[in-house]
Structures are given as C-alpha cells and as structure tokens.
Amino acid sequence: MACANFQDQLSDFLDGELAANDRQNLERHLRTCSVCTTIRDDLARLIAASANLPLHTPSPALWANIEREIGAGRVAAGPAAWWNRLSARHYDFSISARQLVAAAATVTVAVGAFWAIQIASPNALPTLDVNWNSMGGTSSQGVQAVPLAHVASNDEIARLRGLVDEMTATIASSQSNWSSELKSTYLKSVAAADARIAEVERAHAVAPSDASREVVLAAYREKLRLLDEFARLASEARPPAAK
C-alpha cells in the first residue's frame, strides 16, 4: 500500500478509530517510513495544541447589550448586590508566576476578601471599610500605566491592552460619584494588577518564550477581569436619572 493510503488513515489512527487490522498495518509502515511518521507526529501535536487554545474575550460592552435585551433592570440588582458579588470574587495576580520566576514575590489580591462591608441603604452606594493587608509595599501611586514599549509586539497582547485602556477610560468617566474609599480600593487594585503586569512583562522582555507570553496574557486577562467588575460598579453607581 502506498504512503498516500497510509496518510489517509492517520487521523483515524490518532483518534483511536482505526480497526485493529488496519492499525497493525499502519504501525508496521510507520516503523520504516519517516515521512508518514513525521506527519503522524505533526498531526498529534496539532491535535494537542487545538485542544488547548486560549480563550478569547469579547468587548466589555457586550453584557450591557444582553442586559438590555433581557430587560434586567439595573435598579433591580442594585449596588448592594454588586458589592456582595464583587466581594466574593477572588483575583489572583500571581497566576503562573511560579513557572516563570520561582522567587518572585507574588501579590495576591482578594478584592473584598479583606473588607467588612457596611451597607447603609440598598439604594445608596455602600460605604466601605477597607483593611488592605495583602498589599505589601505596593502604593496607590503606581496607578500610572505600565511602560509597554519593551514588550515584544503581539496581536493578542495588544488587543487585551486595548480592552484594558477602553475599560479604564469607561471607569474614569464615571468615577466622580465614587466614595473616597471605593476610589482608593480601585487604585490599589489597579496598582497591584499593574505591578504584576510590569513584573511578567519584564521577565518576558528578558527571555521571551511562548510560556512567558502566556503569563503576560494571563496577567492582562486578570486585570481585565478586575476592571470588568469595577466598570459594572461604576455604571451601578450612576444615578438612575442620568441615562
């Protein structure tokens, strides 16, 4: 049998769908044919990579559209519900850091995990007592955008960065009626996220690899997840009249 016929069977072979007889014939051929063996190995790697593709993130505005369409009133959820849910969320800015820099100081920020939340009225923006004891030395002055020039250009990193900028601007535009506690919490959270991003980007710049790029992407996604919550909070905090 020719190589062409054997190559046609490679997918079934790799998927375990080849009949025993055919499989034995193919295995025998593979022992002597380096071309078919190379293709088998390529397809095997392709299959493994396809099963582990990273996820894509849609525009942060998408939820608002869905919310509108299902008629979920913002008033119905209320800021109090938002605080409760935000406080139950956990943000880990040390994702995959161990693979990269074993000795790196990991900054784990559990937004809300250290908060005692006092809710005065379900319709007013709650005031917060923030006890931020996981922050270590990170100061809220670090909110400045991370210098990005040293990072290898990359479509996905650039895209996530764009989303981060977009959401940061959205939040900034509706921050005026935040309490000072909320603002300070926001600044500290962003600073922690930025510190994490700066750290992994530095490592990526020094020794760029697929793995280090994934770590950078993970750090951006994590910041995005954090901003996502604050963006929601910002829109909740807006007075109902101001549409």
Binding site: C3, A4, Q7, D8, S11, D12, E17, C33, S34, V35, T37, T38, I39, D41, D42, L43, R45, L46, I47, A48, A49, S50, A51, L53, P54, L55, H56, T57, P58, S59, L62, W63, N65, I66, E67, E69, I70, A72, G73, A76, A77, A81, W82, N84, R85, S87, A88, H90, A110, A113, F114, W115, A116, I117, Q118, I119, N154, D155, E156, D210
Partner: protein
C-alpha cells in the same frame, strides 16, 4: 435597615452553575450575570472560531445568552451546564449559517482542497512548534465546512457521531472532513516558516 456583612478570607465559590441557573430562572439577573461572567469567554471563542469574524461572533454570543436566559428554566442539571450551553451555542451558529444561506460545504467528500500527499523521496520536515496565534489564523483560513468539523471535534471535543447528527452528515463524512482539515492546517503552518520546501499535490 442597617447590617454588617463580614466577608471571610478566601471564600470559595459556593454557588454552582445549577444554583445560579435556578436563581436566574427565578428572575435573579445578578445570578445570571455571574453565569455570563463564568461562561462568556468559552461561548465567544466558539462563535469566533466558527464564524471567523469578531463582530458577528459578539452578536451571536449575545443571541446565545439572551436565548439562554429565556430557556434557563428548562435546565434541570442532568447534564453539565457547560455541555448544555455549548450545545445551544453550536445550534445557534448552525442556525446562523442556515439563515445566511451559507452552505456547509459538507455534501461532497472530495472538496476543492486536494490533500497534499508526501512521498518517501521527500525530505521529511517537521512542522514548527505549534504557535497559538498561527494556529488560530490557520483555522480561520479553512473553508467553512472543514472549519466547522475541525472546531467541533478538535477544539471543542465533540465526537463524530454527535457532529454527524448536528450537521446532518454521515460519520464517515465528518471523519474525512476532519482529516482534510488537519492536513490543510499542517500545510498552512508549515508554509509559514519553511517556504523552501516544495509541496506536491
């Protein structure tokens, strides 16, 4: 009324998808939003890979979650929520293809893409390390029918039997389309980095 809620450190997520689905069915939109937060990336990625267009993929993701909200009362938890949601997503994508009268290109076995056969005299060259971005691009370059089967089988993990049922084709067709898709992607990835090698039809 005033009350004080103290949140414990490292609170594990106690609400399962089923809890959230039940709460959503009862009209709790905050619970539904949490479901959205947990699943929208998977849904969007599936739409994006099948459609190849971010704007269309967002529109469809929106449709999926709106439909999910309306149907969530019928989720009883006998299957995994993700399985249920992804099946709903695939159906939505296929319906979208039908609405736009996009032919799934699955009617004939021998499509317009000849599979490159390499013969023993060729110097075997290994495909470079599979790069996620290059792989996504290659998937996007597949003809729609090949792409659908490839995404459903290799990315989403569906079996040929289920793909056959969803697309209305035989298991044999699904298998053959998948193989052609893989060989095509391999060629696309190969070409990117080793243009020196001649491919023969």
């Amino acid at each position: 009324m005033q009350y004080l809620a103290a949140v414990a450190i490292e609170t594990p997520r106690v609400e399962t998808d089923l809890d959230l689905a039940r709460a959503s069915a009862a009209g709790d939109t905050a619970a539904f939003e949490q479901l959205y937060r947990q699943h929208h990336r998977r849904v969007f990625s599936l739409c994006l890979r099948m459609l190849g267009n971010p704007t269309e993929a967002e529109d469809l993701t929106q449709d999926v979650f709106v439909q999910l909200f309306r149907k969530i009362g019928s989720f009883r938890g006998e299957s995994a929520f993700t399985t249920w949601l992804h099946r709903m997503t695939v159906n939505q994508v296929l319906m979208h293809f039908r609405k736009r009268n996009v032919r799934p290109e699955l009617t004939t076995d021998d499509g317009e893409l000849p599979v490159t056969i390499e013969v023993g005299t060729d110097k075997p060259s290994r495909m470079p390390i599979v790069d996620h971005i290059a792989l996504e691009r290659a998937i996007g370059e597949l003809p729609k029918g090949y792409r659908t089967v490839f995404v459903l089988h290799d990315v989403e993990g569906y079996e040929h039997e289920e793909i056959g049922r969803m697309l209305g084709v035989t298991v044999g067709t699904s298998k053959s389309q998948l193989h052609k898709a893989r060989m095509r992607i391999r060629t696309l990835l190969d070409k990117k980095s080793s243009d020196n090698r001649e491919v023969q039809a």
